[in-house]
């Protein structure tokens, strides 16, 4: 489902190109670097998140994406290790995989996972690992679809994003970083979605870990 490659850009400190179904994003991380005066925080790492859309110019839609990504990444960064420093995280959507006017779940989902790998690639300290999954609920029997296709997505009654902090090599769920649900659903559906998404999140975490292992092997290639 997910294919990812780290270290695809060389002008930045960390990068990752991630494809999840029809959605492809590329993420870059630079930091810790010297911030501009207005960005600087006295005791911790400042975070600059930039999302650029596939088509057209960035507007409020991308600002909301940036805000959501920031909400996920901020609690995970070991930000007190780098006071008065800046970390830039940029995303370029290469293929959206969803109608951009109406949805942003697939992009958000891919961005969060790509951010994890790019952060790992950059060596910016993280308190833990995290992963994200996108789920939609379809039809009268409330079928739960993990990482729906565009076709499934637009027919769904509700869409959900779950991002979790995952520990111990993807075996343990430590914390909820983000739940965001939209559409029309009930409490029961939501709790079903959450328990299904939780499992899927762990699976994603294991897949991301493979990309991390790949990266580490490539990092120390001269040792072979």
């Amino acid at each position: 489902m997910i294919s990812a490659q780290t270290g695809v850009l060389d002008q930045v400190d960390g990068s990752c190109k991630l494809q999840c179904g029809e959605t492809t994003v590329i993420c870059s991380v630079t930091g810790p670097i010297e911030p501009k005066a207005r960005q600087e925080l006295p005791s911790q790492l400042a975070l600059e998140v930039v999302v650029r859309p596939c088509k057209g110019v960035p507007n409020t839609r991308e600002k909301l994406l940036e805000d959501q990504i920031r909400g996920v990444v901020t609690p995970v960064l070991a930000k007190y290790l780098y006071p008065r420093q800046l970390c830039q995280i940029c995303f370029q959507i290469l293929e959206s995989g969803e109608p951009e006017d109406e949805y942003n779940v697939k992009e958000l989902n891919s961005c969060i996972n790509a951010a994890y790998l790019a952060l790992i690639d950059s060596g910016v300290a993280l308190q833990s690992s995290f992963s994200s999954v996108c789920v939609s609920v379809l039809g009268s029997n409330n079928e739960i679809l993990v990482n729906p296709t565009q076709e499934q997505l637009i027919k769904s009654d509700s869409t959900h994003i779950l991002a979790l902090e995952v520990g111990s090599g993807g075996k343990k769920i430590q914390n909820v970083l983000l739940i965001e649900s939209n559409g029309d659903f009930t409490e029961e559906i939501m709790f079903n979605v959450l328990s299904r998404a939780e499992k899927a999140c762990v699976e994603v975490a294991l897949e991301l870990r493979k990309a991390v292992e790949d990266k580490i092997k490539r990092d120390f290639i001269w040792k072979q």
Binding site: A78, I120, V124, Q127, S129, R209, I216, I221, K223, Q224
Partner: protein, 236 residues
């Protein structure tokens, strides 16, 4: 074999007492919990009293730590110090005019903006600007630091520069030495300065160092010979 580890994993240590934590490991100030913050190989070492733990990982962005030998670029000069860059876009570090051998108020060092220096990090608090010195501060004497004149700088990954510095068995430098005579200064900040007698050899060394980063050590010999062949065969 060292195990692979990623942030959020459990460290392979039972006892939290007497643990010295190294790079890639973080102790939460509130919970006193020790956890890895980078992805890499878990390295546990033990001395008589202590257990040391670190995560060997590779990255590009250098963060100053006391004792590191670095190659810096002078980017500005003030009334009593130079401003030095250890990596583009990183916060600059300070090199005091007094941190040179035989320094005195009257004897100002003569470095210019754009010059390269080889130096040692002497202060690195994360809240403050780091400082470097070009003198062995214990003896106050020259210790091979100072201006790096001419030559060329190769940008390498941080793990690679550590390998070059600390692993005496790593064959790259030995192999290079068979092809040319050179001066070298390896900065832990991922900057390797190299200088041969002629430009062509320097260029061959520069290309070799860049290339060997992304190839297994078994191929190093071949890579190096190819690069030296290329520069000698090039027509004027």
């Amino acid at each position: 074999m060292n195990t692979l580890i990623a942030p959020g994993d459990k460290l392979d240590i039972a006892d939290k007492e007497n643990v010295v934590i190294g790079p890639g490991v973080y102790c939460d100030p509130r919970t006193q919990e020790i956890r890895p913050v980078n992805a890499g190989f878990e390295v546990i070492g033990s001395t008589k009293k202590n257990l040391s733990i670190r995560v060997d990982h590779n990255s590009k962005r250098y963060i100053p730590a006391v004792g590191d030998l670095v190659v810096g670029l002078i980017t500005g000069s003030f009334s009593d110090s130079y401003r030095v860059s250890l990596a583009s876009f990183s916060s600059p570090v300070t090199l005091s005019y007094m941190a040179f051998p035989n320094a005195s108020k009257k004897n100002r060092p003569s470095l210019k903006v754009g010059d390269l220096v080889y130096a040692r990090v002497c202060k690195a608090d994360k809240e403050l600007e780091a400082e470097i010195e070009c003198v062995d501060s214990t003896t106050g004497k020259d210790a091979g630091f100072g201006l790096l004149d001419g030559g060329m700088v190769a940008d390498v990954s941080l793990a690679f520069s550590r390998e070059l510095t600390f692993n005496n068995e790593y064959p790259l430098l030995t192999l290079l030495a068979k092809n040319a005579q050179f001066e070298i200064a390896i900065g832990i900040n991922g900057k390797v300065w190299i200088k041969c007698d002629d430009v062509k050899s320097t260029l061959a060394c520069y290309r070799s160092i860049n290339d060997c980063q992304s190839h297994p050590s078994a191929e190093h010999k071949f890579i190096i010979s190819q690069h030296f062949k290329a520069v000698t065969n090039s027509v004027q």
